[in-house]
Amino acid sequence: MALDGIIILDHYGRPIIQSGFRSSTTAYSILHIDAVNNALQKAERSADVDSVIYVPPLNTANGSSACCHVEVGDLRFLCPVSGDVDPLLAFAFLQTFIDILREYLGTVSAATLRDNFDIVYQLFEETLDSGGHPLTTYSNALRDIVIPPSLLNKLLSVTGTNFNSTINSGFGAGAAVGPFSSPLPWRKTGVRYNNNEIYFDIIEQLKAIVNKNGTVVSSHVHGKIEANAKLSGTPDCSLNFTNPQVLDDCALHPCVRLHRWNRDKMLSFVPPDGRFTLMDYTFSSNPLPSPSPTQQSLTSVMSSRSNLTIPFIIKAIVELEDSGGSFDVTLTSRYSTHALENIVADIHLGPGAGGIRCNVSRGSGGGGFINAGGSRNLDTSGASSGASWSFDAQRTVLRWEIPIVSPSSSWSLHGSFSTGTRAPRPSHAIRVRFDISSHTYSALKVGQLKVTNAKENYKPYKGVRGRSSGEVEWRW
């Protein structure tokens, strides 16, 4: 295992900050930065650059290495690796590190990094050993050793009080024990809240491909349960579901007791303090049959998996001519109870496309107005216009945005484009992204949540919410 370090590049490929690289030569990190920048320059689309780049050695004294990189907003995070390391380890570590940065800095950008150099350097030191081993990445434990920047800290440093250093050197109030002495590595000891609460967000994402006949070619729903625990002491939670059979391929936070889950489908855990992802799962509308499934039953599982209803229908009529084309796209919501929100439909018009003329309108269909409840308010803003379109000339992507599609309503976009001298070659697919609040595809229901605490007796406030999003490729 040897993750040699982390380098963060800005939008122009210049390094903002990097970890020590103490066990390698000074040229090592520069070599990697150059390799990545070169690869990016050569590629037409930056997304098409291989995510693991081979970096030849500068001279024969050093062996070769590879550079794993990810783009985050405007920034690019590099993780050079040498020796035979699993690149997935590098990516997993980068992701973890980025999550940590988010937690510390709020947003991760060149500006926030520059404002908090000292914090970022400390995080480098605490999370990655110079020998290449990831160290502490549980945020609960990290917060003990690297103090997050906060308004309070700033105030204190202005007034000249040296309060925070006494906190962290003496582990002052309540926490008589040192760091890392907690029996649970993910949870710090001595947590205290006036209001005890725990929230769960069930978040599901649908990814689907629909062919031109409107039949679903493939669809998958990945879900996760995110939790935010603000509970005093060492609470022991147990959570069960009324319909656990919809859960498949579960991946659990290390705090969950595996045997209880495997035996009773009950999530039993002592939560970390704060936000964490309790579990990841795949939604299967049909639970896997007996241990030795026959060929037939497996294919039936497969088809049932792809039977999930896509929440909308698209009718697209595209006519291509010698030097352009016209399109008429209609999107109709299939849901009768939930509104689709933040709809973004991307149409890739292909090389040379331009001269877009477009008209977006709300179709006549759908009874959004009459529908009960909140949707009426939503409609008044959406009905007038709400929907809009834009064109990214560089990527030749036409984007159609609709803030809210109320139940059963329909929207349309029609227009034309030209491709100059070339024959038009648009992608035969429309990519639609959307959100649905207070809804899950799996209809996963929390049955009961028990919080027990040996020492203290409190009744925490508990909350569960559902939220869905989707990304559908609709071919025409």
Binding site: A2, S24, D48, Y54
Partner: protein, 752 residues
């Protein structure tokens, strides 16, 4: 020697602030120094050092941070810090103790090292687990700098004891440290198997690791799993035990834990004899792998590469999951390409329709590279699944109908492979292909169509007309097209001798006189000489280049060679050799698995120290093979398409037989060459033997030709191997031509 800070500028201001009498001002100045570490602030070393002694933990950490970065530039001054380090390693605050130990280990300064051993000794026995785990990793760093210190101080024994630590984090870090030392030690040339630095996993260590596995952090789990992968199980019971204990790791959220667990299972599954357990393990492996595909593209790609490898060993893992691999148009190209590959691998009779409609969809995408690869995938599917070949051909015809230039060209290339696999099955579509003759401008597509025309010359009425087009432009074509044209015309002549004398004469004339490629010229000469032995043809040809009439059998040789039925083709089930595959499976979840090359071929070390010095000697070699490995990776897709020449089944229905040529065409490379389908540059070797400036006496001549062929086929069988499909030709295939070619030579000599 002290370095004076500059008098002016920001550094000067910082220097003043660092020496301020106010605590907060000093601390703030340190923060500013840290913030400007991207530029050179080494001049402030003495000023920063003064602030090391402090109760403020944050300030201490910042100063330590600065020291770690600039100790290299100020080795003389570092010694001033030693006292504070040693004192801090005894601090009541465990964070300070750990910080001191960690920093001392990282400084890599000779002078510090000597003071490190005593504090390290203490910290390895510290009551606080955080300090212990930090100390454990520090031992590995010390070993990197001065191995003898580690051995003399008994740190290794202490580490071995710490494997049984009560805290799983300490266990995980100890394992990581011992593994680092193990790797460093085993890279030494003169290592004895009993060297204390080696870290063999014994069965008692195994037990401890399996216990710690479920308790520690994800990174610790990866370290432990990697160690478990090295363990050699005593018997099948133990293998089963390991598998059962490791399987729950599949449910971890962290992908690298999942992949490391897959690796351990794949390794120890070899030892498992219980069929039901194997089945169960394989079934449990699929869901976590599929889950990885919902990650961001870069993670997906790594997962896909590993899945590709796993599928080669166990095609049954994901047999019902093909739909997961369907491409989205906004997937990055490198992900799409990998998905295509896996889809073809998973293709079977039950899912081939879904696959084909997907592939057809991809063929209408914007990205040209991807379109071509999709069409290639259609061809591979046709060759893999006999029952679906017809459907594939229909899809290809639909694509040809689109008349998009590159689609048509790629489809024609693919069609040629289908004709090779299913001879005389789809002749009906030849007119459609020929109708697109004008559209073709790429050499490969042209060559493919010419091959098809030549092969079916007797069934195409206007074959001579069609070939005539290429003969007219012969000198303007690229060499592969020229070679293919030449062969096709000769085929035409052999099949329809009466109507094609003119064209064959024209091409042989042009090829031998106006062509600047020795390769093309030589092939033309060979054909010419063989042809001129035919009584009918000889009449025509002798008038241009008189050669003595040879036996009738020579013409038969030509017919046998040119019209020989080629061995059937199939797509390789694996893209890497079985032996290599075994090795690579051990490397699942590693860089090696991503590049599908064994570790040694490309792994180097970007580190300073003994290892890299030791590597100096073999580094150039390393580098060469790395580049080669990566080229092969790039050519990975190509390798898929290098259709396998299966040499095993006997060829039946040979038009006419001569023992000698039969042997020749049995060897893939020779068949390849003789049939004129080879684009191997090593064909040029023929020129050494077969390009006499003036016609030599016939007997000597044909001896030369076959001598040339013999040598050439021996060479080119190695050559095709290096083209990117080393797996396709196992050594047993490569060897025979060398011995067997003696035979034809003798036979022929006997003839004359």
């Amino acid at each position: 020697m002290s370095i004076k800070a500059p008098r002016k500028g920001e550094n000067y201001e910082l220097s003043v602030d660092l020496n301020s009498e106010y605590r907060e001002k000093r601390k703030d100045a340190i923060k500013r120094v840290i913030a400007s570490m991207t530029v050179d602030v080494s001049g402030l070393f003495p000023d920063v050092l003064k602030n090391m002694q402090t109760d403020d933990l944050e300030q201490k950490k910042l100063v330590y941070l600065y020291l770690m970065n600039y100790a290299k530039t100020q080795p003389e001054l570092v010694i001033l810090a030693v006292n504070t380090f040693v004192k801090d390693s005894d601090d009541p605050n465990p964070l300070v103790r750990a910080l001191a130990i960690r920093t001392m280990g990282v400084l890599r300064a000779e002078k510090i090292i000597d003071y490190l051993c005593d504090p390290l000794q203490k910290c390895l026995r510290d009551e606080n687990p955080y300090v212990r785990k930090t100390a454990a990793l520090c031992v590995a760093k010390l070993y990197d700098l001065k191995p003898e210190l580690v051995i003399d101080n008994g740190f290794l024994e202490q580490l071995h004891e710490m494997i049984a630590d009560s805290n799983p984090m300490v266990v995980a870090n100890t394992v990581a440290a011992l593994t680092d030392i193990h790797i460093a030690a085993s890279s030494q040339p003169s290592i004895s198997p009993n060297d204390p630095a080696l870290f063999p996993i014994s069965s008692s260590i195994l037990t401890k690791l399996l216990i710690a596995l479920n308790e520690c952090s994800e990174w610790g789990r990866v370290a432990i799993l990697n160690a478990l992968a090295r363990y050699v199980a005593k018997d099948d019971k133990e293998s089963e035990h390991i598998c059962e204990r490791v399987v729950p790791q599949f449910q971890h959220v962290n992908g690298s834990v999942v992949l490391a667990a897959v690796k351990v299972i794949m390794i120890h599954m070899r030892g498992v004899r219980r069929e039901d357990l194997i089945k169960q393990l394989v079934r449990k492996m699929a869901p976590p792998l599929v889950t990885l595909l919902s990650s961001p593209p870069e993670v997906q790609w790594v997962a896909l590469r590993n899945i590709n490898l796993l599928l080669q060993k166990r095609p049954d893992i994901l047999s019902n999951e093909m739909r997961v691999f369907f491409c989205k148009y906004n997937d990055p190209l490198y992900v799409k390409v990998e998905k295509l590959d896996i889809m073809v691998r998973l293709a079977g009779e039950n899912n081939v329709d879904a696959l084909l409609s997907e592939l057809k969809e991809y063929a209408s995408e914007v990205d040209v590279d991807f379109v071509r690869k999709s069409i290639k995938a259609i061809g591979q599917t046709a060759i893999k699944i006999d029952a679906a070949a017809e459907r594939c051909v229909h899809v290809l015809l639909d694509l040809i109908d689109t008349r998009v230039s590159y689609v048509v060209q790629e489809a024609v290339v693919v069609m040629k492979d289908i004709f090779r696999k299913y001879p005389s099955t789809y002749e009906g579509i030849i007119p459609t292909l020929c109708a697109n003759l004008d559209e073709l401008d790429e050499p490969e597509a042209k060559a493919s169509l010419i091959w098809i025309i030549g092969e079916y010359a007797n069934k195409i009425d206007n074959a001579d007309e069609l070939l005539g087009i290429f003969v007219d432009t012969f000198t303007e074509e690229s060499y592969p097209v020229q070679l293919q044209t030449l062969t096709a015309v000769v085929k035409l002549f052999l099949k329809k001798p009466d109507s094609s004398q003119g064209i064959v004469q024209r091409i042989l004339n042009t090829a031998t006189k106006d062509c600047d490629s020795p390769d093309v010229r030589d092939r033309a000469y060979i054909y010419w000489r063989l042809l001129s032995t035919d009584p009918g043809a000889a009449k025509v040809l002798d008038s241009i280049l008189p050669l003595g009439p040879l036996s009738y059998r020579c013409r038969c040789i030509l017919a046998a060679v040119v019209l020989a039925q080629r061995p059937p083709i199939s797509i390789p089930r694996t893209t890497v050799a079985p032996a290599l595959l075994e090795e690579l499976l051990g490397e699942v979840s590693s860089l090696a698995s991503v590049y599908h090359k064994p570790e040694e071929t490309f792994v180097g070390k970007g580190r300073v120290g003994a290892e890299s010095l030791q590597r100096k000697t073999d580094a150039p070699d390393d580098r060469f093979s790395t580049q080669k490995a990566l080229q092969t990776v790039a050519a990975g897709q190509q390798a898929e398409n290098l259709l396998d020449f299966d040499d095993a089944p006997a060829v039946e229905g040979r038009p006419s037989g001569l023992a000698a040529t039969e042997v020749l065409s049995h060897t893939p490379a020779a068949a390849n060459l003789l049939a004129g389908t080879s684009s191997n540059p090593l064909d040029d070797l023929v020129s050494i033997f077969g390009a006499p400036a003036t016609p030599a006496p016939p007997s000597a001549n044909s001896h030369d030709i076959f001598g040339g062929l013999g040598v050439n086929s021996a060479f080119s069988s190695g050559g095709t191997g290096s083209l990117g499909s080393p797996a396709v030709q196992s050594p047993s295939v490569a060897v025979p031509p060398l011995q067997k070619n003696q035979q034809p030579e003798d036979d022929l000599l006997g003839l004359f």
